[in-house]
């Protein structure tokens, strides 16, 4: 079923308070015509997933700079599965070493991961293309 606007939940899980990147991206997504639900800081994975379900978002984007990514991404995926919401995509950005990115993507714990230096244009394009591809399949 098609949706007229892409809805994205931008979240900051864990205790890390660095929201500069998350906010710049939220703004860029809005300027690209998307509806961005900003979850705020200090979120637990449970809060993020619950918000994603209530807001019926297409995608969760999380920003992590605290090094806790190897636990957070899998946990969110697990919760989405428990709630029968596996169609909600998960992507993220932050201080993610190459090795960890490869590991997370291969294990299916995220659909895409970006590091500092990625442009907002790249991220917006990835989201739009990915969702268009999924729509085409349906």
């Amino acid at each position: 079923m098609k949706k007229s606007r892409i809805r994205v939940l931008v979240g900051k899980p864990g205790l890390d308070g660095h929201d500069r990147g998350a906010k710049v991206i939220a703004r860029a997504l809005r300027d690209a015509g998307m509806e961005v639900i900003y979850s705020g800081l200090h979120q637990t994975p449970e809060q993020i997933v619950e918000a994603a379900i209530q807001e019926d978002v297409d995608l969760i984007g999380i920003s992590i700079l605290s090094g806790a990514h190897m636990t957070v991404f899998p946990r969110i995926k697990e919760l989405l599965k428990e709630q029968n919401a596996e169609d909600i995509l998960l992507m993220g950005g932050g201080t993610l070493p190459e090795e960890d990115i490869v590991s997370l993507l291969q294990a299916g714990h995220a659909e895409a991961l970006f590091t500092p230096g990625a442009t907002t244009t790249e991220i917006v394009s990835w989201i739009e293309e990915k969702l268009a591809a999924i729509k085409a399949e349906v």
């Binding site: 939220a26 703004r27 300027d31 690209a32 509806e35 900003y38 705020g40 918000a51 379900i53 919401a85």
Partner: protein
Amino acid sequence: MNKEALDQWIARLFERDRRATAKLISWVEDDIERAYIMRSILKKTESKLVVGITGPPGAGKSSLVEALTKLYRSKDERVGIVAVDPSSPYSGGAILGDRIRMQAHGTDRDVFIRSLGTRGHLGGGTRSTLDILRILEGGGYGRLLLETVGVGQSELEIMQMADTVVVVLNPGTGDGIQAIKAGIMEVADIFVINKSDLPGSERMKNDIEMMLNLSCNGKTWRPPVVLTSVINNTGLDTLFENIEAHQAYLLESGQSDERRKERLRLEVWRQWEDKTQAIFEILWEAARKKLENFDQEDPYQVAQMLWEEHFKEDKWDE
């Protein structure tokens, strides 16, 4: 989507499945099978009363919504909240940040929060705000809260969806005067002066009471002015009681029926408007092509000629 699948989703809604609630809201918002969905749902809901909370940005509406939610939860009631934020007029996108102020209920299954963008609707609200509130009601949320930003003309239209309109202002700002300009006095059922710990709240209260003296003669409900401070946790019980009192008034006085009729009129009018708009667009498409053949500049003449050509029976001037 086939009707069986839809029926399943709707059945799940009434079983209080949150995913179903969220999905149905999305479809209705996007006008997908909207009539079918709403007719199924409206059969089984009672049209519970909606409390609307509005006011200028920064007034503390979201904090008040959270405080009210806490109160309702303490009485074991389930709360459905719709928070509307303006969409960008350029891109059509929006950043919806009201959830942040409602963190305490982030994982409470008995609270459902849905954020909407105004999506460029000239009315300043979403077409389907009331429908979405009814879906929440179907999902088992008995207390319905609607939050919108601003005191502009466009926001007044969404607030018409609410049965009890709470207008939130802050002391020491130009809020009071803004309120008069925007015509908010007529729409408010309750005034709240939030952040009442700041100076100027008593004076603002007096100003509002004076304006009410002028405007409320002969009306049966005079909006109370409540002082609250979410930070200091004061005034919230009073607000709650006033909301209850207004809701009781609506039911006893028959006002709630009046408002329901008004909303019915509005909604039917809108659906007719949509329908005629659709017909108009089809007719216009045909006429527009013919425009190419005219090389005159006079739009009055051209409009008349095209009309009479198309509607051979109707004269333009009738």
